[in-house]
Symmetry: C2
Subunit: 342 residues, 2 copies
């Protein structure tokens, strides 16, 4: 478990800049083990399909960034780590449930480098096991015994669902502007990053300024995380990224790279986006054509610049927080989001 002794004995890790996510995972190794134990225990069910399917997704990896934020947020304030375990597991379950339902909704084929659960086990099982994980997340967060924390996390869950529905209504709508896009990602992604970060401060009984700082930090890295995710959908190497490239294009999702391309599009390009995204009429070469326009208008660069702004906000939000081992790592984590290939 994380303790002050370990904190001082691992300064080299704390200042390792190349991968603050691994640094955090190492510093909080004992705590993350406790969280993993809870995750595995709460995936259990006499209905064998449930652990089989949940295990399939959870064992495929993912960096557990949300539970790490909950643990790091608690450690930053020297708060009660053991109380954070259930909450860290709960946020991972909310995230996993969302992934399961997302993949059904998106009809995705690949996630974390393997076939999506809905392809392997069917949409029906994915919907229902998602529901199971979602209700287990509530069971776990109730263990915290704090009505305030329950409000934070259940509010986040409701906001996520709204963001997902909003995304559904903006998909294939080429009128979607940056403002709508930002609302979607603030809801579907940043809300859980924000809640995951904030609960550590609440558990540690910190004042409103500090809670608000952690909430803002989480929100801003969450926004940046999703913006980069959306850029990667156009640029990443499939092997590294572990999911289909060009999925957003195929589905007609209105994300930053195409919203910026539409802003700069000439009449011919607008017709192209209208046909491919708005009307979902796509030919084999259309993704390459889309990449040509995206490259021409440098919209990946504009997208990364946008993410950069939120990273700066995230780091600035940390100012009022106590200086200890965790603060620089959490700050570095924000920068790492930008360079993410995870």
């Amino acid at each position: 478990m994380y303790s002050k002794q370990k904190q001082t004995s691992a300064p080299s890790l704390a200042h390792s800049e190349d991968n603050p996510l691994s640094t955090l995972a190492k510093l909080l190794d004992g705590d993350m083990r406790a969280v993993n134990t809870l995750i595995i225990r709460n995936m259990h069910s006499d209905v064998a399909l449930i652990p089989t399917l949940a295990q399939y997704l959870i064992s495929a990896g993912g960096k557990r960034i949300r539970p790490l934020l909950t643990l790091a947020g608690t450690a930053l304030f020297d708060g009660p780590m053991h109380k954070a375990y259930h909450l860290a597991a709960a946020v991972e379950f909310i995230h996993t449930a969302t992934l399961l339902h997302d993949d059904v909704v998106d009809e995705s084929g690949e996630r974390r480098g393997r076939q999506t659960a809905n392809l392997v086990f069917g949409n029906q099982a994915s919907v229902l096991v998602g529901d199971f994980l979602f209700s287990k997340s509530f069971q776990m967060m109730i263990e915290s015994g704090s009505i305030e924390i329950l409000h934070i996390l259940s509010d986040a869950a409701a906001i996520i669902a709204q963001g997902e529905v909003l995304q559904l209504t903006t998909t294939n709508n080429i009128q979607t502007d940056l403002k709508s896009y930002m609302k979607v990602i603030e809801s579907k992604t940043a809300a859980l990053f924000s809640a995951s970060s904030e609960v550590g401060a609440v558990l540690s009984e910190r004042n409103n300024e500090e809670r608000s700082a952690m909430r803002l930090y989480g929100k801003n890295i969450g926004i940046a995380f999703q913006i980069i995710d959306d850029a990667l959908d156009y640029t990443a190497e499939q092997e590294k990224f572990g999911k289909d490239i060009g999925n957003d294009f195929k589905e007609g999702k209105m994300t930053a790279p195409v919203i910026f391309a539409l802003q700069k599009a000439n009449a011919q390009e607008t017709r192209f986006w209208k046909r491919t995204l708005g009307e979902k009429e796509q030919n084999e070469n259309d993704f390459d054509q889309a990449m040509t326009y995206i490259t021409k208008h440098k919209t990946i660069e504009t997208t990364v610049d946008l993410a950069q702004r939120y990273i700066e906000n995230a780091k600035a939000a940390l100012n009022p927080l106590p200086n200890n081992t965790f603060k620089p790592i959490i700050s570095n984590l924000a920068d790492y989001i930008l360079s993410r290939n995870f």
Copy 2:
């Protein structure tokens, strides 16, 4: 709102035996209005598709039996009615979310006498709006401020999801026996009836014997409710029942009428069930043929007898409870479940 004054002024209603559900709804009219207001307020979202879809399902009716149980359970113990409103709305939201996901999973076409939401709005919207209602249900139950009640309701939600997955794994499996069937319906249906009934006693700070009595009452009427529902899928008039008849047969769901028919099947009949349910190879006349076997072996009667036993259990469970206006109505409600055409 329900008050003692009204309780004594409406004895004729209280003894009306023909429809205890309407009697309850009338006695608790003011309370149900408060619950409906909460339901409508919590369906709201800036994302217009959410209230549109939720409204579509909720306005289609349904008898609100679960919130009525929560209110009646509270009134029976003379408990704090205003505290029960959020919980009553929460159980209705859990139920509605489950219906939305069920219809996606079952690929149903009709519910409550109209097209299912997934047909009108798409599976994607149904999954996500279900998630929204589910998270709103948690937000509402947190309003109760009672960790004990949160445990009861979140446990129920997890059990429901497990029951749904278990049902998925027994579908098209003609080896499914009565024991497995009972486990499915105890989980997917009875758990929420049980929780809805119990929370009234907990809110009213009653002792364990009384809580347990309400829990058992709810569980047993829930089991009977589902058994009758499954019988109706083979016998009801479509117009009255408001959903497709023969759906369970089409999907290969292993419910009491066919489990009993399989127990008595000769070799030819077994081949029939194996082909139609196990292998989902169905011809136009197969439902009529199924009805012939079901009629031959009187399995609807056996199914209703089974439900009857749980109704008797439910009524017996009420024995230790205080005698007041609500007790005979709640008892009559159990009998009414048997005669349900709602």
